[in-house]
Amino acid sequence: MLVDSPPEQRAETAPAPPTRRAVRALGLLASVVILVLVALASIAIGAKALSLDQVWHGLFHGTGTYGDVVVDERLSRTVLGLLAGAALGLSGAVLQALTRNPLADPGLLGINAGASAAVVTAITYFGVTSLTGYVWFAFGGAAAVGALVWFLGGSRGATPVRLALAGTAISAALYGYLQAVMIMDDAALGKMRFWTVGSLASATNATIVQVLPFLAVGTVLALALARPLNAVAMGDDTARALGAHLGRTRALAMLAATVLCGAATAACGPIVFVGLMVPHVVRSFTGPDLRWILPYATVLSPVLLLGADVVGRVVARPSELQVGIVTAIIGGPVFIFLVRRRRTAQL
Amino acid sequence: MSTSTKPDASGSANQNTRRSTVNRLSAENVTLAYDQRVIAEQLSVEIPDNSFTVIVGPNACGKSTLLRALSRMLKPSQGRVLLDGQVIQSMPAKKVARTLGLLPQSSIAPDGITVADLVGRGRYPHQGILRQWSAEDERVVQESMAQTGVAELADRYVDELSGGQRQRVWIAMALAQQTPLLLLDEPTTYLDIQHQIDVLDLCAELHETQGRTLVAVLHDLNHAARYATHLVALRGGRVIAEGAPNDIVTAELVEEVFGLRCQIIDDPETGTPLVVPAARKARLTAAS
């Protein structure tokens, strides 16, 4: 189902492509509708209870009342959730195709570690304290580590195993550094422990504007890669025989994933699991075709992220649970369920 | 290593079973399933002693599954597999391992292991904590390597060997187990033709000169017909025919089991049946 669909299901997918395609297209449409509903919920629901009237007023006739300010904040938060969610899901799907490993997520390639190490450096050695200040550091760290993993992994000759190993190695070294800094510098610890759980609460329009260009470029690039990545997914030799440019596809896919995930992490902190889980779930009903997986992941990831964010605002009233925590607590059991359901457990 | 005496101690204990077991290994009315997927129901197979039994059938007919059940890798959800008159699952693991060996398809050569070390691991069921490496072990390992023609490779690393050599090493490991019964799951897969014949010749020799009972799953019907003394043809989890290849391999049987129209001629070398698929045009006209 995930990598290796059992024969009977494969047989099922083969015939009658037109209806199948129609079902998938309808499914995508339905997903968009769900996304809109979740986005509306994210604007309407929060730690501070507002009536629908107040929400309406805030959205369309904002006059600066307290309710309007709340709605405005929630709006930024929702937009960031949409963007970051889509970016995380898309980068996860691309990385899984690139490494041919259903477990690949941005964390595996050291991107989270790179961003975290850069932020802790910014706090401790450059005295940066504002969230908008972190963004550039986090993005730079993520990009630098992404590039480093790419080169250590063998650049154009990179194999899935090498990339994963390089990512793990660099993460290890960076987390060592991170812990050392946090132990010696209480101020860094004070900030980092909030940053590393991942949250949408600090969203501002400034942050969104900062990361938007990167997210746009990354999204276009990733979606354009669906077809070549489909070929790469069939193994190096088959891909070559099909005329795919392995090196170029890998380089571009790595670039897209790093830009997307780096920008999302810079804006909200490391949010794990969205990038790992959503492509998994999507694959179970789209099959292995990335031309469907990528759009579905783009739409459904923000559903998960915003949904988790809404849950996090409600369960711990009057305070909030960070979205990174909620996604892992919801996502973890789903992931384990998926793992158990698989008949043959293999990579 | 001789197995000419058949055990009869088992006979009395199983008087009341439907089939009285005269042979050492048999499956009785077994239902085989992975999770919920049933592969075979109410399947009964006898492995004649001192035979070279080959199980054939189209893909997904359950032949490897049957072999897994016979070698206790898969527990039947109903029915039972008997070894020397006892239900195989109820016997001590090492005792079974001294009687019945298996060469599975999925075997992994550990990194950096030498041929001699790998073959030596076949001695496991004969060893214990206080008896880790006896002179007997040493002798059997040398003998197994000599029989399979890998003695000169003893100090080489298994990962450096060719596919054919590697398969011989695995067979040597199974031989070192010194079991009167030896089960092989598609031992010729991925080998080129001369190595396929090599491996089958080796099996035939083990069967003829040492009187071991061999059970193999093979893909190639012509190989099966040439080497087997006893053939079991499976389709959809049921035995369609069993017996000596000369008696059972007919054009009708091949069509029934494999859905392939063909001619059966005598193998000019051995006189065993040789399956020659009908020409494409003939099959197409027959189909329409």
């Binding site: 090498r162 384990i336 | 030498t114 496991y124 008896r131 002179a135």
Partner: protein, 348 residues
């Protein structure tokens, strides 16, 4: 007749025979020597420096009262905890890697360390408990997580790959819980928690030594008895079964031992990163022998941890930087080195 290349068999007239891997034996002896040397050096390091000869004298019972106090009361327990924790982590890591058949199948990846951390964090953050309570909390957290992973991965037997996957899932959940607990803590508790989470040998005393020692005394022989079956399982479950190994039973017993070893070690010193991951890999490279290399991994773990602690004390001053930082950086460096060499060898 030619003897098999790598090992020597020792036989007695009574029919007993032992098989010894000569190279592995040499590696074990050298590692033990290195561990003891690093231990002596570590005892001599600190605010009050003591030369190695005096340390040995004192250990033999011929030191001054002052030296005796520093060596036997303050620093010896720390070294012993280091040795035992390192040995437990090395052995536990080797077991996990062998059972999951995955070189990355270490307790860090499987979520055990995170489970222990959760236990410790609950005590630190919610209860502001004492050091002993933290140890107990971590032990419970580790054991419960180990049990949960095993049960969740169970489906007509435990498959190595499923075990790793379920471990990753559990690890993500528990990590989130840990992150939440950290955000809820006040800064003092948070600082204490981070030190604990890094893994440290500071201030360990005889109270931690004894339980570790007893546990190792029971578990190590048990594990080594199951090691022969584990060697066979390297060739795949089918081959091992065919050779008469009760695969599921061996796996269960060894998993339980591995969980107990790592949970206890983590409770005593915190989740020292990468010892469990790297010790078996390094040991295997030294012995150049297939098989789980349990004893060499055990010795390698002990050597690594004590050496890393000594290096941390020397480089950054007494009790400045917990040993976990050093093992983390070393572990990352080791993996990178592995990457470069393996690539040159064309293996990955």
């Amino acid at each position: 007749m030619k003897t098999l290349s790598r090992s020597r068999a020792v036989r007695t007239p009574g029919g007993l025979s032992l098989r010894l891997d000569v190279r592995a034996l040499i590696v074990v002896v050298l590692l033990l020597a290195a561990a003891l040397a690093a231990g002596v050096a570590l005892i001599g390091t600190g605010d009050a420096k003591i030369p190695a000869s005096d340390v040995l004298e004192t250990l033999a019972g011929n030191g001054t009262a002052y030296q005796d106090f520093i060596v036997n009361e303050l620093r010896l327990p720390r070294v012993l905890v280091g040795l035992l924790v390192g040995a437990s982590l090395g052995l536990g890591g080797a077991l996990f890697q062998a059972v999951s058949r995955n070189p990355l199948g270490s307790p860090d990846v499987l979520g055990l360390s995170q489970g222990s951390t959760a236990g410790a964090l609950v005590v630190i953050v919610l209860m502001s408990g004492s050091a002993t309570q933290v140890t107990v909390g971590a032990l419970i957290g580790g054991l419960v997580t180990g049990l949960a992973i095993y049960l969740l991965a169970w489906k007509q037997g435990v498959h190595g790959y499923r075990l790793v996957l379920v471990g990753i899932g559990v690890s993500a959940i528990v990590t989130a819980v840990n992150g939440y607990l950290l955000t809820k803590a006040d800064l003092v508790d948070a600082a204490r928690a981070v030190v604990w989470m890094t893994g440290s040998l500071n201030g360990r005393d005889w109270e931690q030594v004894w339980p570790l020692l007893w546990l190792c005394a029971v578990l190590v022989p048990l594990v080594l008895a199951g090691a022969r079956g584990l060697r066979m399982m390297e060739m795949g479950d089918d081959v091992a079964n065919a050779l008469g190994v009760r695969v599921q039973r061996v796996r269960l017993v060894l998993m339980v031992c591995a969980v107990l070893l790592t949970a206890t070690a983590t409770a005593a010193a915190g989740p020292v990163s990468f010892v469990a991951l790297t010790a078996p890999q390094l040991a295997r490279r030294l012995t150049r022998s297939p098989g789980p290399n349990l004893v060499p991994s055990l010795c390698m773990g002990a050597t690594l941890l004590v050496t890393a602690d000594w290096a941390s004390q020397r480089a950054f001053g007494a009790d400045q930087l917990p040993v976990g930082v050093v093992t983390g950086v070393l572990g990352g460096g080791y993996l990178l080195w592995l990457l470069v060499t393996e690539r040159r060898a064309g293996r990955i």
